[in-house]
Symmetry: C2
Subunit: 412 residues, 2 copies
Amino acid sequence: MDSKLLREYADFAVKVGVNVQPGQTLIIHAPVDSAAFARMCAAAGYEAGAARVQVRYKDEQLSRLDMEKAEESVLCDNKPWLLRSYLDYAEAPGGVCVLHVVTENPELYKGLDAGKVNRVALARQTALRPWQAYTMSNRVQWCIVAVPSPAWAGKVFPGMTQAEAVEALWQRIFTACRVQPGRSVTEAGREHVAAMAARRDTLNALGLVRVRMTTPEGTDLMVGLADDAVWAGASSTTPAGADFIANIPTEEVFTAPHRDKVDGVVKGTKPFVYNGQLVEDFTVWFEKGKAVRCAARVGEQPLKEMLASDEGAAHIGELALVPASSPINQAGVLFYNTLFDENAACHIAFGEGYPENIRGGVTMEKPALAAKGLNQSDIHEDVMVGSATMTVTGWTADGREVSIFEKGEWVL
Amino acid sequence: MDSKLLREYADFAVKVGVNVQPGQTLIIHAPVDSAAFARMCAAAGYEAGAARVQVRYKDEQLSRLDMEKAEESVLCDNKPWLLRSYLDYAEAPGGVCVLHVVTENPELYKGLDAGKVNRVALARQTALRPWQAYTMSNRVQWCIVAVPSPAWAGKVFPGMTQAEAVEALWQRIFTACRVQPGRSVTEAGREHVAAMAARRDTLNALGLVRVRMTTPEGTDLMVGLADDAVWAGASSTTPAGADFIANIPTEEVFTAPHRDKVDGVVKGTKPFVYNGQLVEDFTVWFEKGKAVRCAARVGEQPLKEMLASDEGAAHIGELALVPASSPINQAGVLFYNTLFDENAACHIAFGEGYPENIRGGVTMEKPALAAKGLNQSDIHEDVMVGSATMTVTGWTADGREVSIFEKGEWVL
């Protein structure tokens, strides 16, 4: 891998994605096998003026070992220091921001008890809820970027040697993230964000209250939006005024469904990995906002576990529009990684909705957000339902019909 | 590296060194570049019945970056979660034990401000003092083992390629730790511990109150022992009765000097690395227990910083006997790593003394230990003063003289 490009990617993630502000603590989560990239990100953090950079390494192989060997009750027992390891910085002067460098082994927990895997993940999310409130409400800047792992690259490019597959996956990641030789990554990224912001503003000017997604393959979902729903996308902004890009790459413009106003059926168009377990070719039926039935050719058990996680897990918190011409979709590979695949297709997300999708929502308390119809849950899981055959139609409060997507493309 | 031998080394460290007890949490500190070994140790921990294994990766390169880029005040500001990340387990039912997998780059902080480096290290030790009390008093099992890093191996074998140097260092580590093909590492280790325990018991039977170390090269140190001093070595035991080996390898039998009864001069016989900075060819002069003057050909500044760390840092807390025929010394290389070099030569340690070196000390409070003459400090740093020319003589309470070492060897 070209180390100059890698450094640009790290720079972009830290200085534009997270947009580290002088005096902040930057926490970086990174896979243990990507230490070289984590170090580049740390150096970029100090360059951007971080008071302190803390890298917390994560080891997928140990996560698997824990899941196999330790009792569920032990794995669900998250000690108080875990939450404090974030809040000690979030509550301090200067504040905190966070970069998640992720990799994904789609078969990390293959063969293990999906119920245990899900309950352990939920227990961690519950323990970290006060910290998640900071990120979900954009009170701190956060950003997710991906790096290949041999396991992930092998799943995406099964015919190649390990080294070839990793190199090929790097190339696809760079293309998807607009990291190219001879062009400033930061400049390309900023242009892209501006174009997406224009699309978002157009949607907001329409004042839609209802959106319908249909495909000839059987998806037909009517989605009533939450009260005072707004479309977001491109970049987000903290109360202190720092812009950040939560996901790199990002191609989506998204809004908040009303938790009780979703009816119909959706068919998955790409697989997704839930807690290290693959879910593929799935269908979900909705009534009055709730997923009442589901089926999947692969991973039906993790899908059911996911929907049963808590009351809000069977409702959706996000509706996102991505054209089939998205460069990530055009790359022609399935990434088996939601960070990429969600930016290759229209999607919905089960679980928690984003306060920024309600007008004035980022400063509202949970009960006020719930009163607007925003869904609440300890999970937030994107599932891809869009394709080159999708039609998306919207309606305004006064009943006017607006064509949004035809054959998977913007027609606004 | 032979992965079978590596696995035996991991097994020995976890099952005999730490001696993980069923239901305990095992915390493993490991260098990020030694993930494969850390995973072997984690697997051994679960085999031994650990309820949970937590690996905390450390990245030397990031430590250097922090030291270069972050303000001292920021690096010294250890948030409360750090201490809780240990005490949350130590105070829980089941309890905790800890394995430190270490590597040492003797030039990690080369060229940086020794004062800053020392104050940052001290701030961390101070913040962790309640947790250190668990390990220093043997209330939890702990063990330190080493793995090579390219930087360390390069310093030990400067003439070799990186890969050759790492392989050569592994071989020396294995020899020093009695890890050999065709022989059970655990059995060899247990035999060695039994032989050392016999030596320790012989010394305790003598009832020494004073020890003198001399060499023709200029060392002449008279060390009065603490009241009720006892010799320790080989293995230690927790109050709950779990035996453990704090250092692998271990060749030392050691006791507690009286903090105010040390007079004379010592000349260093091997360099040591203090907070990533090398100290070489040093001399320290003592009066009434206190180091009143010091000099060093290399690293005089870190040496002075070390002795000025706190009141107890200029006094010694440990006196340890290691024969020149120690297999580590016979290996004929300088490890530039105290874990090894301290087991190659008689040494003294500046700073904190071990409660286990006072009869009944592990259940005593600090004031009672101080009243016995045991030194107290936030540092504990071994410095090597022994050689093949060293004579060690002891005196009993009734004035009987006992010859302990002649020409660097046991003559008891």
